[in-house]
Assembly symmetry: C2
Homo-oligomer: 280 residues x 2
């Protein structure tokens, strides 16, 4: 059996999660939906986000035949995971719980820093998921990092400077609260593109957790439980590196920006993006 | 007669236009609507933008009694001015034509630079309005400037650095096309907050045109034609500087962000922002 993995985001940042999934499951089929006509989700109410996310989830399951669903969007994971689980009958994995779980495994001091967008920080979903695992978490919104990534300045001196300012403020806050953080969660699907820059700027003793990687690991774990064996492992892929994954990308608007920027996030061409209409 | 001026934007950036209007017409009544639930307009189709803008215009005219309408949004001015003029029966002023007109008056070489958001640049509305006046215009999208303003970094060294990078690229493009620009149009309602920083970075011989100021001047001109005399001039306001304008602000979502950031754009408190539902 070759499972179909549905991956959903409000835009195309979630392609970093798809990239991590393809690395682990090169023989699976993938359907990615970016609900770009209705982004940003961050400024909208919980009820509206839940409706949009449930419609998107149903498209992937009912029309694209997804057997598993990965919610590659921090806002939707934070505010609409329940609504999505109610809307579809397949297993649903968000990015926040796997990110917090990876932080728990990585942290020795139990003190964790989280950087994310304004909307994700305001939901305090990472703080809650960390606290449920006995960690103390300090969150900070870093609104300039997404536009810097979208501008393509992923290794630019300006971006390093902006990151150092945000990180310095966060470390000062942590110190003033008596925290000794040793783990930094990258709580936004755009941030994996900044991981090399971030790892150069933080202390060598600190671990950066990429929640895209953590969510992909979580799906692999679920698949191996369900199927007994994986459809194909990274080892198989190394034996046959030319194998191309079966991948279809859909967007509700802005196909042009998706196609232009998407390959940078996915690490390979996104191919032709199909426009779909999910209504209002 | 005290006219009511309706001012419309997709967000709250247009408060810089309202600020310029209040400076000129301190005794007028003002109603400002930010259609924040449906922003950003820039990524949406012309038909959708026209529908949103027409609904917003009707709210200001029919429910708030606006006698004049100022479209303090570059995207709506570029793509929906006709649709708004059809939707309401009062005079409608956008930001693009007044900005281009001010550039024509300022430029001696006839070569003009325009910086704006991605959506405004892609519409080429400034280039067309400049060309109609015999100017040669070169446009450049500066996507990082809006988030830097919203982060409050209006005089930050990082912002100066980002501006110098964009401006350097634009000047190099101009040189390669044989242009000798002496005028820079700030084609986004967020940019007036960067005017001091921008004026320090550009050559002393170059004039920066603030299209918020130009649109306000255009309305004053129209009012003095229509009414013979103005309801109150800046001179009156200087005689009685404590006079507070009558101002009501409305938003379709994100009242919190509007109230938090709005006063920085308006240069005075925005007061309580009222939430309105325009549907869709």
């Amino acid at each position: 059996m070759t499972p179909t993995i549905g991956v959903f985001d409000s835009g195309f940042g979630g392609l970093t999660v798809l990239r991590a999934l393809i690395q682990r499951l090169p023989a699976a089929r993938f359907a990615f939906l970016g609900d770009s006509a209705r982004l940003p989700y961050g400024s909208k109410s919980r009820r509206t986000i839940a409706r949009y996310a449930a419609e998107s989830a149903r498209f992937l399951v009912e029309e694209q035949g997804a057997d598993y669903l990965v919610i590659a969007c921090n806002t939707a994971s934070a505010l609409a995971l329940d609504a999505i689980q109610e809307a579809v009958s397949v297993p649903v994995i968000g990015v926040i719980e796997p990110g917090a779980e990876a932080a728990r495994r990585a942290s020795k001091t139990g003190d964790v820093l989280v950087i994310a967008t304004d909307a994700t920080v305001q939901s305090h979903a990472y703080a809650a998921a960390c606290q449920a695992r006995g960690l103390r978490a300090l969150e900070k919104a870093c609104p300039l990092l997404v536009p810097l990534v979208e501008e393509g300045w992923t290794s630019h001196d300006v971006t390093a400077q902006v990151f150092r300012i945000y990180f310095g403020e966060l470390m000062a806050d942590a110190a003033s609260q008596g925290l000794t953080p040793d783990t930094l969660v990258l709580g936004c699907t755009h941030y994996p593109l900044l991981k090399p820059l971030i790892e150069q700027a933080i202390p060598a003793s600190m671990t950066a957790i990429d929640s895209a990687e953590s969510a992909a690991d979580k799906l692999v774990q679920q698949l191996s439980q369900d199927l007994g064996a994986l459809p194909a492992t990274s080892a198989d892929s190394q034996a046959n590196p030319s194998a191309e994954p079966v991948l279809h990308c859909f967007a509700t608007d802005s196909v042009e920006k998706f196609e232009r920027l998407g390959s940078r996030f996915l690490g390979r061409p996104v191919g032709q993006v199909q426009l779909v209409d999910l209504g209002g």
